[in-house]
Amino acid sequence: MVGLDFDKPINDLKDKIKELKDFSENANVDLSTEIEKLELRLKKLENDIYDNMKPWDRVQIARHPNRPTTLDYISHLFTDFIELHGDRGFGDDEAIVGGIAKYKGLPVTIVGHQRGKDTKENIRRNFGMPHPEGYRKALRLMKQADKFNRPIICFIDTKGAYPGKAAEERGQSEAIAKNLFEMASMQVPIVCIVIGEGGSGGALALGVGNHIHMLENSTYSVITPEGAASILWKDAAQAKQAAEKMKITAPDLKGLGIIDSIIREVKGGAHHDIKEQAVQIDEVLYASLKELKGMTKEELVNHRYDKFKNIGAYKNS
C-alpha cells in the first residue's frame, strides 16, 4: 500500500512489529512483552497522528490512489446495479458512471465521478475529470429518475471538470450550469456524498442535493489547493498553506453550514477498510433517504431551494 508522509511513523512501526513477530516465530524466542509494548506505542501513535490531522494530511488521504471510488461503494452498498451509458448526443464519458440499482429493495438512480485504479484505467476515465458529455449523461439519468420517481444518489469525487480544448468547444460551462439548474427542480430526493475530492464546479454539477454528506477525510472547495496557491501567491508549492486557509475539510464545511453530516472514516482513511467504510456510509445514507422519502414532491423542491438559499455570508450596512 502506498504510504503517506504524515502517517509514515505508523507504517514504520507496524513494519517493525511484524518483523519482531516473524523473528520470534522463526527463532522460537519469546518476545511477547516487547511486542506488546510496541503495540501499545502504535496505538498511542495512531491516536496522536490520526486525531490531529492537518488539512493537508486530509488532502493526501482524499487523493490516495487506493481510496475507494464510486464503483467500489456501488458494489458494497447496492444490489442489481445496471450501468447506463451515454449522453445520447456525443459520447460516453467514463469519468462519470451512472445507472439504476436497488438500495435495500428500493430502486434508485446512482451517478458519480469515477477515477481509475491504475494508469490504464485512469487514462480511460480521464482521471475522473469529466467532459460536458459526462455531465449530460448524469443529467439524462437524473431526469429519468425524476420521471420514474426514483431517489438519486450522487457520489462526488473529482479534481474538477476537465480543463481542455474539446471540453470548451462542447460547452463545459453550459453542461455544468444546466445540471445545477435542472437538479433544482427534481421532484425526488437527492442525496450527495463527497467521497474524495470535491473539486469546484465539476463537483457541484452532481451536488445540488437535499442532503450533502462528506467523508471525514474528503475535501470540497472552489479550487484545488495548488490552484488557489498559484492564483493567490503565484506559487503552487504553497498548496499546503492554501489547504489550511481555504477551509476545505469536512469539519470546515460542517462549520460553514454547507453539509449535513460528516461520515466517520476508518482510522487512517477509507482505503484501510472499504467494507467497514461502506457500513459507515450505509448508516448515514439510510437515515438520509428515510427522512427525505417522507417529504412530498413539492416539499423536496422547496427543501432544496431553502438549503441553497441559506448558504452565503454577507453584511447589511
Binding site: D80, I82, E83, L84, H85, G86, D87, R88, G89, F90, G91, D92, I100, K102, K104, G105, L106, P107, E133, K137, Q144, K147, F148, N149, R150, L289, K290, K293
Partner: protein, 289 residues
C-alpha cells in the same frame, strides 16, 4: 497480392447463380451455417442457444415469434391486430405481389408482430419487428400496429417494449411511410408524458426512418452485440464524404461509444436484464420504505 489473384480467379471459376430458395432463408434443416464464421452446427443446438453462434458468438437474426418465445413467459403471449394487412395506397406496380410473396414465405401478415405478455411475471405490451418480411420496412401497417400497441400500453398502464429490425421506410408507400415516423413518435410522447416506461432493443439491422423515430426514443435504448444501427447507409455516406469509414462504423458498440445507447446486452442475458429493469419500475414495491 498473390492471394488476391487466387481468390479472384476462384470466384470466377465457380460463379453460381443463387436459387430462389437460397436467396431467402436457409431452409430449416438439421444443420445451420453461421453467416459470420461459416461454421456449420446443429440447428437444434443453435436454437437452444437463442441463435447465438456456438462458435463465434454472432447473433443470427431471430424470427418475430421466436423472439416472443425467447423473451416472454410460456403461454402468456396474446397477439394484437394480427389480421391487419397492407393495401397498395399508391398503386405502386408490383407491390401487392411482393407482399403476397412475403406473407407466404414468412407466415406473417406484416413486418411487425405486436401483443401483450409477461416477462418473469411483469406484464408488458411488446412489439417485435422481423427483417425477413420486406426487410422489416415500415409502411402504414407497421406504423399503425406499433401505434396501437403504444396506446394499449398506455391504457393498461404497463411498459412497452420493442425489438426493432428494419431497413427503414417502405419505399412503395412513399410519403405515407415517412409519416409513420411522426405518428409513432407522437404516440410515444403522449405515452411518456403519462409516465409510461418504454424500452427499445435494437437488433440487426435498425436503420433509416425506424432508427430516426421510435427505435431511438426509449427511456432505455439497448442493442444486441454487433447490430448495425444508423440513419444513412454506409455506402451513401462513403460516396457523400468521399472517405472510407472505419470497420466498426454504425455497430452497436460504435453507438455505445458515441453516447447513443444505454447498454449493449448479449441475447442470452436479455430476458433477465429486461426483467430486472421492469422490476425496478414497479410501483408500490417499496412498502418497507
Amino acid at each position: 497480392m498473390i492471394k488476391g489473384i487466387f481468390s479472384k480467379s476462384k470466384k470466377l471459376k465457380y460463379a453460381t447463380l443463387p436459387s430462389e430458395l437460397s436467396k431467402n432463408e436457409v431452409p430449416e434443416g438439421i444443420m445451420t451455417k453461421c453467416s459470420n464464421c461459416k461454421k456449420i452446427m446443429y440447428t437444434r443446438e443453435l436454437q437452444k442457444n437463442l441463435k447465438v453462434c456456438l462458435n463465434c458468438g454472432y447473433h443470427l437474426p431471430m424470427k418475430a415469434y421466436e423472439r416472443m418465445n425467447s423473451i416472454l413467459d410460456e403461454a402468456t403471449f396474446i397477439e394484437l391486430n394480427e389480421d391487419m394487412k397492407t393495401g397498395n395506397p399508391l398503386h405502386f406496380p408490383g407491390y401487392e405481389d411482393k407482399i403476397a410473396g412475403d406473407i407466404k414465405k414468412t407466415n406473417m401478415n406484416e413486418a411487425v408482430v405486436t401483443g401483450t405478455g409477461e416477462i418473469n411475471g411483469n406484464k408488458v405490451v411488446i412489439a417485435v419487428m422481423d427483417s425477413s418480411f420486406r426487410m422489416g420496412s415500415m409502411g402504414s401497417v407497421v406504423g399503425e400496429k406499433i401505434t396501437l400497441a403504444i396506446e394499449t400500453a398506455d391504457e393498461l398502464s404497463v411498459p412497452f417494449i420493442i425489438f426493432t429490425a428494419s431497413g427503414g421506410a417502405r419505399m412503395q408507400e412513399g410519403v405515407l411511410s415517412l409519416m409513420q415516423m411522426a405518428k409513432t413518435s407522437t404516440a410515444l410522447k403522449r405515452f411518456s408524458d403519462n409516465g409510461g416506461l418504454y424500452i427499445t432493443i435494437m437488433t440487426h439491422p435498425t436503420t433509416g426512418g425506424v432508427s430516426a423515430s421510435f427505435a431511438s426514443l426509449g427511456d432505455y435504448n439497448f442493442a444486441e452485440p454487433g447490430a448495425l444501427i444508423g440513419f444513412a447507409g454506409r455506402r451513401i455516406i462513403e460516396q457523400t464524404i468521399g472517405e472510407e469509414l472505419p470497420e466498426d462504423f454504425q455497430t452497436a458498440e460504435f453507438l455505445l461509444k458515441h453516447g447513443q445507447l444505454d447498454a449493449v446486452i448479449p441475447r442470452l442475458e436479455l430476458k433477465e436484464k429486461l426483467s430486472l429493469v421492469l422490476e425496478m419500475h414497479q410501483t408500490g414495491g417499496d412498502l418497507e420504505w
